[in-house]
């Protein structure tokens, strides 16, 4: 059984993403505020919420994130308020796919999507090498059986 946690880079990546989205939304709200006054209040609420999620919630959330490669299945556990445990047996998995956005590429991480019939399991960004080794392990494992 192999247990993996997410690297620090993933937290940074999501922090950047959320701060960026928050900034864009707040900027838009302020830009259109002269047309509709309550937008200023909405911008403040979005800003506070965004910063809370980015700097308080996310670090704790990613600390709970665990990827377990057991003998029979891939198990992904995460959640603070709502605990989620996603199990995908190897037998049900059809193929694995890695996914990189430009920002993730800069930080050297990639997300992994494990595809099964009619469902999929999304593993948050891990180091590129780890993503590749997960994909190789899952795709080639079958031919070694």
């Amino acid at each position: 059984m192999k247990e993996n946690t997410l690297p620090k880079k993933t937290t940074w990546l999501w922090l950047l993403r959320i701060v960026l989205v928050t900034f864009i939304l707040v900027a838009l709200c302020f830009y259109f505020a002269p047309l509709f006054a309550p937008l200023k209040i909405i911008a403040i609420v979005i800003g506070v919420l965004g910063l809370f999620v980015a700097f308080v919630y996310l670090p704790f959330f990613f600390k709970t994130y665990k990827i377990i490669l057991s003998n029979d299945a891939v198990i992904v556990k995460f959640g603070i308020l709502i605990k989620v445990e996603h199990i995908m047996p190897y037998k049900r998995m059809i193929y694995a796919q890695s996914f990189e956005t430009p920002m993730a590429r800069l930080l050297g991480v990639a997300a992994v999507r494990l595809k099964a019939a009619r469902s999929y399991l999304l593993v948050a960004e891990v180091e590129k090498e780890s993503a590749q080794s997960i994909i190789d392990f899952l795709a080639e494992g079958e031919s070694h059986e």
Partner: protein, 477 residues
């Protein structure tokens, strides 16, 4: 060892396709205007720059696409995306089918559309679709499924035509034909649809029958739609060829758009031997297979044998797919009692009586439409009698066998059907009992295959206790 394949340059146009009509037509119009009058709009500059930018993005996306085959590890890797980079690694054993399609433009450019299908694909969409050169496509197919000495089986034009006739319908013709006529009319700026309606009106008024002209018009529309659908299917099935390898099957068809589908025999979910009403008149059957995750749409399966006599098709079945055979010989059949047999004709009788009563009411209420009512009754009664025949087929020929594979024979709408499916592919077994079934101690047994198509078949009025006991023993419930 890794073998890397690049996509065919025609794929650049695929990336540009969504923007072509929006950009290219105004651009061409602007350029023609400039060539003729020497004048141009300021927007022309913007269009040229946008088209060049899109072409560059298309080129880069094509450049980033790679298909890597690893023979030793038996894996296929697809790398795609310029900004959002995707890398998928698929074990070859997990592929449901590989499909190649070639339209006339691709034929000229020596390219094919290559589709990789797995069970994980979305409905109506292949997992991966890209363009490869013919040479690369052949190499990839050989690497995936091996060269092998494939046995080629061709079928006569008559068999293909009957297959096309049985898979065509007037509704398909309307669905495919009407938008086509509308678009052609818009493009040529001719009112083709109005011309057609006028022509149909003229012809229907010239034909002198007992029935009113509206009946002739409706019949003509349906006949024309059916013919359109028939020719559409015929062109899709022309050149139909079955290639049999040791553990794979390949089906080729199409005249203008050539399709080639290859899959491992192990990927077949279930086999169906079907007989439509037209085939019933010709005393012939067709064999189809359903492959997991395969197809452009949810409801599609692959025809393996288009038309053959009953005994011949069973011989082919035993030869091509011996592991699907069901030979326990212990069948569960509908009870052979007079009351039980009459129950199979319950619904056709109800439909028949209702139609007669409704026709009488309509005839008395709308006297001016009597001839139209008689025509409608005639059509409905014909359909009811065909339905009754299929109900009788279910009564006398319907049966289920739970052996190494599950076998079930019954009717499916206006078709007879035999379904063969391995035990592990059975998705659901459903026993349904209506009040009449409880009274007669019978039940309906429906078996659904665990696959994307989820084929199912039902036999009615089987002995409940026998079915329950057999199913419990079979599935260790």
């Amino acid at each position: 060892m890794n073998k890397v394949f690049r996509a065919h340059p025609l794929m650049i146009f695929n990336f540009l396709k969504p923007f072509l009509f929006v950009l290219l037509i105004p651009l061409v119009r602007g350029l023609i205007q400039y060539a003729v009058s020497g004048e141009y709009d300021s927007i022309l500059y913007f269009e040229v720059i946008l088209l060049i930018a899109l072409a560059v993005i298309g080129f880069l996306r094509w450049w980033c696409f790679k298909l890597i085959l690893n023979e030793e590890k038996h894996t296929i890797t697809v790398v795609s995306g310029l900004v959002f980079r995707k890398t998928a690694k698929i074990n070859v054993d997990r592929l449901s089918s590989v499909q190649t399609k070639q339209n006339p433009l691709e034929f000229i450019c020596r390219a094919v559309t290559f589709r990789l299908n797995t069970e994980a694909g979305n409905i109506g969409k292949a997992d991966y679709e890209f363009k490869l050169s013919v040479k690369s496509a052949k190499k990839v197919s050989t690497l995936l499924y091996g060269k092998g000495d494939n046995k080629k089986i061709r079928f006569s034009l008559f068999k293909i035509a009957v297959l096309a006739a049985t898979t065509s319908s007037a509704f398909t013709g309307i669905i495919v034909g009407v938008p086509l006529i509308y678009r052609a009319g818009n493009l040529l700026e001719i009112a083709i649809s109005d011309m057609l309606i006028n022509e149909i009106n003229n012809i229907s008024q010239k034909i002198e029958t007992y029935f009113p002209p509206v009946v002739n018009a409706i019949s003509l529309v349906f006949l024309a739609s059916y013919l359109f659908s028939f020719f559409y299917s015929l062109f899709n099935y022309l050149n139909f060829q079955l290639r049999l390898g040791e553990d794979k099957m390949e089906i080729r068809s199409g005249l203008f758009v050539r399709t080639r589908t290859a899959f491992k025999k192990a990927a077949i979910n279930n086999v169906r031997i079907e007989q439509s009403f037209l085939m019933l008149l010709l005393r012939r059957f067709a064999m189809r297979v359903s492959v997991g995750g395969y197809g452009e749409s949810k409801g599609r399966s692959e025809v393996v044998i288009p038309l053959e006599k009953g005994q011949e098709i069973r011989n082919h079945f035993a030869e091509y797919l011996p592991f699907f055979k069901c030979d326990t010989g212990v069948f569960i059949k509908p009870r052979a009692t007079a009351i039980n047999r009459s129950r199979f004709l319950f619904f056709p009788t109800i439909y028949f009586i209702s139609s007669i009563i409704l026709a009488i009411i309509l005839g008395l209420r709308f006297e001016d439409f009597t001839r139209f009512t008689i025509f409608s009754l005639w059509v409905v009664c014909t359909l009811i009698f065909i339905h009754a025949w299929f109900c009788l087929f279910e009564c006398f020929k319907g049966k289920v066998d739970f052996g190494e594979n599950v076998f079930i024979r019954s009717r499916r709408g206006f078709k007879t059907c035999e379904l063969y499916c391995p035990k592990e592919n059975v998705g659901e077994v459903k026993l349904v009992r209506f009040p009449a079934d409880m009274w007669h101690h019978t039940c309906r047994l429906r078996i659904t295959v665990r696959s994307e198509r989820a084929d199912s078949l039902c036999v009615r009025h089987l002995d409940y206790e026998t079915v329950k006991k057999t199913v419990n023993e079979y599935f260790n419930v």
